[in-house]
Structure formats: structure tokens, C-alpha cells
Symmetry: C2
Subunit: 313 residues, 2 copies
């Protein structure tokens, strides 16, 4: 009963090594014939359509990253549990990225770097964190951890999610009705939503039009998207920046990745681009919780962090 | 019995306004004849030498910023209590700056900005915060608050101070003997020391030679100085950057301020310069605690946050 690592186009060697080190008794394959009855688990990233459906003894599919849209988009995906990766390592990396980007915008990093390039000594007005609200869209494991860490830095936090959630210390809003009131509070908009049919293109002109016009930083809100590229309409983000509906943006994910060299986002003076690097999936950190889940599953315990295939995450 | 605001060369109006709003019954002056018997308190920033000694009824001197070296350098300073400003606002701003700069270096902001300028999509290896030690020199109110907030972000913390201190959750080191072991732990060196005769020029080639050669980020340590410009030898910092003894630096304070346009620090690709803006002294935030101290003092209670004039801070 083998584990298949299915990540065509990517080098699987570190994942295979980590699986073999963590569970020497479990055979690990990177190739399998369609229909191979020995495949029990798939560890997948953008698996080929139809592949997983062919394995008669497949028991569960594990995602290699926080998102699962790349697995669910296979219309032939068999009806087995799909497991999201939840690991302290991944969560901590994402919160580091979010805190970093919020602080850099809030403390006017872009302005001071422009000043430095011209040797200009000019202190800018600076509110304190407790006068600034970070609004987080997406209150799963990642959103809640980011909220806690931003709170510890002194920021006020508002949270928005598809379905109502209560999170200690945070003003929460939910659904379509909650979006307007949530945006009315938000000075820095942090997006950690999953990619679903419902969230596709949510970061659009229509949403930016409902944002604050003026924050305590004296300008329009800042956008930080570390969720998924499909959430954003990049033409709308560029327009919002140029029309003053957004003041600055940090984007780690894009409609097309790698971001094409021709994209105006690379060159916009108020956009910071990272190459989908907010929370890298490190095999050494993510494989041990996967193996613990397989062990528990085989002892008859339920799998945790299961994907709700109807909701899409 | 008046309050004198003595900050020659700076506009005192916001300080005067805040004092008058907070204590309408207290006369506030910005000019006083030498020897004026009505002056009871001085609120000072770089007061003229000899001025404070002339007031026969002066009871206390309040600093307008976290540092007090600008007050103590007056050799004629009368033997009255000198009060350091301690305000949540100032502390929070400083910790924001420290967290911002540590995260920006740790998450490779300089590298990603260089890549962005050339439209390069290239993810860099990235350790997690729990594998990186931030070493904080100076464990006063500011250093301890920064330590708490960096801990909450996941970093390991080491602390160094002149005299031994115990701080929960931090490995602490003290004095000359403790400096080597402290530097041997430190990946990101954050400096929040006061300016004293003892700390002058401490950030020198001699200290950088004792730093780690290689941190989990794969390079020499990072320097963040938000203390005082007199702590640093800028020629040594530039040499350490170019010889690979330091990888990057964020400097908010300088030997000469404003930093002269001719300084190579402005143009160094691995130095980030801010104009002494880490923790701006906002009159609206700092005046209320000063007035509370005056009220308490007049009720016969001891003044708090007194400067130890022998230690120089």
C-alpha cells in the first residue's frame, strides 16, 4: 500500500525523501500506472485530471499546500477525503508575511525608500497601531493566527468570513451583508481567502468602491493578498491604485504565476511583489503531520482538516 | 510657578498647546529670563547650556524624548531630578519600528525589491522565525517591550544590558563578559541603548568582528539601530557591510542628524535609512504622563522614571 507523490512539473525529491525518512516502512512512488491497486494515499499538487480516479484502493488525498483548489478542480476526483495541510510551520510563515507587509505599509516603508533614494530627510506623520484597523478576509487557521499576531503588535482587528465566526478579541462580520460594514472599518485589507467559485475575482473594482476613502494614514486603504491569485482582478487593482481607491498593495499571488514580465504590477511604484513566497511548503515541516494523519486513519480515527468539497475549501 | 518649554531651534507650539490643554491652571512659557524665580519645571530638548542652572526654584526637568543625553550634556545642569519620558505611545511606536525592520530583513525585503525591479520571479530560501535569534542590546522599557512583541512573532530573543537583568522568556547577558556569548547567539542585532560615555561608538569594527559569521539566513548578521547615533561608527558599519561582517542594516539615528546628503549610507544598497522617525515624540501622548508626574510630585509622591545621572540614563 503505497503513497503516490503526484506533482507533475515540480521536483518531488524533497517530498519523497521526507516521506521515506518519516515512515521508512511505507513505499513511496512518484509514478504509478493508471489503476495501480497498490496506491492508498496521494500527496498531490495539481495532479493530472483523471489520474486519482483510476486507483481502486485510494483512501485519501493530501494537499501539499494550504490551498486545495488545485486538487478540487479535477472533475473526476474520486469521492475520498481530501486533507488540507495544517502545520505550525506554514501558519507561522504566513503570519510573518502578513505582519511584515502590514508593518511595512503602515510604517511608510515605500515612502521612506523613495526619500532615501533622493537623500531626503523628512519625517512623515505616523499614527500608532492602535488607531489603525487591519481587516482580515478569511478566518480559518491562517486568518486567526495572523489576527492574534497583529493584535499583539497593537493593531485593531476586524475579520470577515463567508459564514459567521466568533473569534476572541476581533470584531467579526460575515457574508454579503457583513462585507460593507467590514470594509467601513478596514484601513489595511489582508486577504487570506481560499480560491472557490464564490471568491473568484472578489478583489475587484466593485469591492474597492466600498472601501474607506481615507484612513488614519491619510490615504485610501492598503491591500495585502496572500490568499490566491484567482481572488484578484489585477486590472482593477491597478486602476484602484491609480484612481486613489487603494494607496498601496502587497501581492504574493497572481492571476497567472509566475507573474509575466510584461505585467504592470512589477513596475508600479506602490505595489510590492513576492513570487508566491509568503508561506512556502517545506517538506520537512509538512510531511510529519501528514504521516501522523495516515497512522491515525489506519487506527480507525477520523482524518482531521478535511476539505468541504461543496464549499470548495 | 510656571513650566518652561526649552527646545531652541524647534517649534514648541504643539507642546505648549498640549500642556495648556492638559493643565489650564499651569502657566507655560517658551522664553524665560535667566534667574526667573517663577520657573518650577522645565520640559527640555537640547536646552542652552547654563539656562536651567539659573532658575532658583526649578524642581525637575522632563525630557521630551526617550533619550536624556541631550539634557545631561549640560555641565551646569542643576542637581534636580531629571525625568525620562515613559509613555505607552512612545514604547509602542518603537516596538513597531523594531518589529518592522526585523521582519523586513528576515523576510528578505531588500532582495525581493531588487528582484522586483528586474521582474525576477525567484523564491528565496526562508528560515522560520523560531530558528532565528534577535539579540537586543538595551533591556529598559523599550528593549523589554520589543522583546515581548518579537517573541509573539515567533523569534528567539537574547538580551544584553550593562548590568544584569532577568527578563521572562529571554536569555540575558550582561556587561563586557556577557557581550561575546550574546553576540555568538545573535542573528539580528537590535540596538536600543542609551547614549552614555560607556556606549559611545560601541557599534564598531571591534564589535562586528565578534558577531556570527553565518546566520540561518545564510549570511552575516543584520544590524538595526534605533538607539542613538553616538552609539555607531558609521565608517565601521560601511566597512562591515562591504567586508561581509554585516549583511544589511536599518539605521534610524546617525552621528550627525540630519544625515548629510553626502553620506554613503543613503546610497548603500543594503542600508535602510529613516530620519530619526522610529518613535516620534507626540505631544498629545507624552504630555499627559508628564502632568500626572507634576501633580503627584506636588502631592509629595516621588517622581518616577528618574535618570541615574552617574550611569547617564
Amino acid at each position: 500500500m503505497s503513497i503516490l507523490v503526484a506533482m507533475p512539473g515540480y521536483d518531488p525529491s524533497r517530498w519523497v525523501d521526507a516521506l521515506r525518512r518519516g515512515a521508512p516502512e511505507r513505499p513511496v512512488a512518484t509514478q504509478a500506472a493508471r489503476g495501480d491497486p497498490s496506491i492508498r494515499y496521494a500527496v498531490a499538487w495539481k495532479q493530472p485530471e483523471g489520474l486519482l480516479a483510476s486507483f481502486p484502493n485510494l483512501s485519501a488525498v493530501f494537499s501539499l499546500g494550504a490551498g486545495v483548489d488545485h486538487i478540487l478542480r479535477d472533475p473526476t476526483l474520486p469521492d475520498v477525503p481530501v486533507v488540507r495541510v495544517v502545520a505550525d510551520d506554514l501558519t507561522e510563515r504566513m503570519s510573518e508575511y502578513v505582519a511584515w507587509r502590514v508593518l511595512d505599509h503602515f510604517r511608510r516603508g515605500m515612502t521612506y525608500r523613495r526619500q532615501q533614494a533622493r537623500a531626503i530627510w523628512n519625517e512623515r506623520p505616523q499614527p500608532v497601531a492602535r488607531d489603525v484597523t487591519v481587516g482580515i478576509m478569511g478566518l480559518g487557521v491562517l486568518g486567526q493566527d495572523a489576527a492574534r499576531k497583529l493584535s499583539a503588535l497593537g493593531f485593531r482587528i476586524a475579520g470577515w468570513s463567508r459564514t459567521a465566526k466568533e473569534v476572541a478579541g476581533i470584531a467579526t462580520f460575515a457574508g454579503d451583508d457583513g462585507l460593507g460594514p467590514f470594509l467601513a472599518e478596514t484601513d489595511v485589507l489582508v486577504v487570506l481567502l481560499p480560491a472557490t467559485a464564490e471568491t473568484r475575482g472578489i478583489l475587484s473594482s466593485a469591492l474597492f468602491a466600498r472601501c474607506k476613502r481615507r484612513t488614519p494614514l491619510g490615504e485610501a486603504p492598503v491591500l495585502v493578498n496572500a490568499g490566491r491569485g484567482s481572488l484578484q482582478r489585477e486590472a482593477d487593482i491597478l486602476r484602484a491604485l491609480d484612481e486613489g481607491r487603494l494607496s498601496e498593495a502587497s501581492l504574493d499571488v497572481f492571476e497567472e504565476e509566475p507573474l509575466p514580465a510584461s505585467s504592470a504590477l512589477w513596475r508600479h511604484p506602490r505595489v510590492f511583489v513576492t513570487p508566491h513566497a509568503a508561506a512556502v511548503s517545506e517538506p520537512e515541516a509538512l510531511v510529519p503531520p501528514m504521516l501522523r494523519q495516515m497512522d491515525a486513519f489506519e487506527r480507525g480515527e477520523p482524518l482531521r482538516h478535511l476539505v468541504d468539497r461543496e464549499a470548495g475549501y
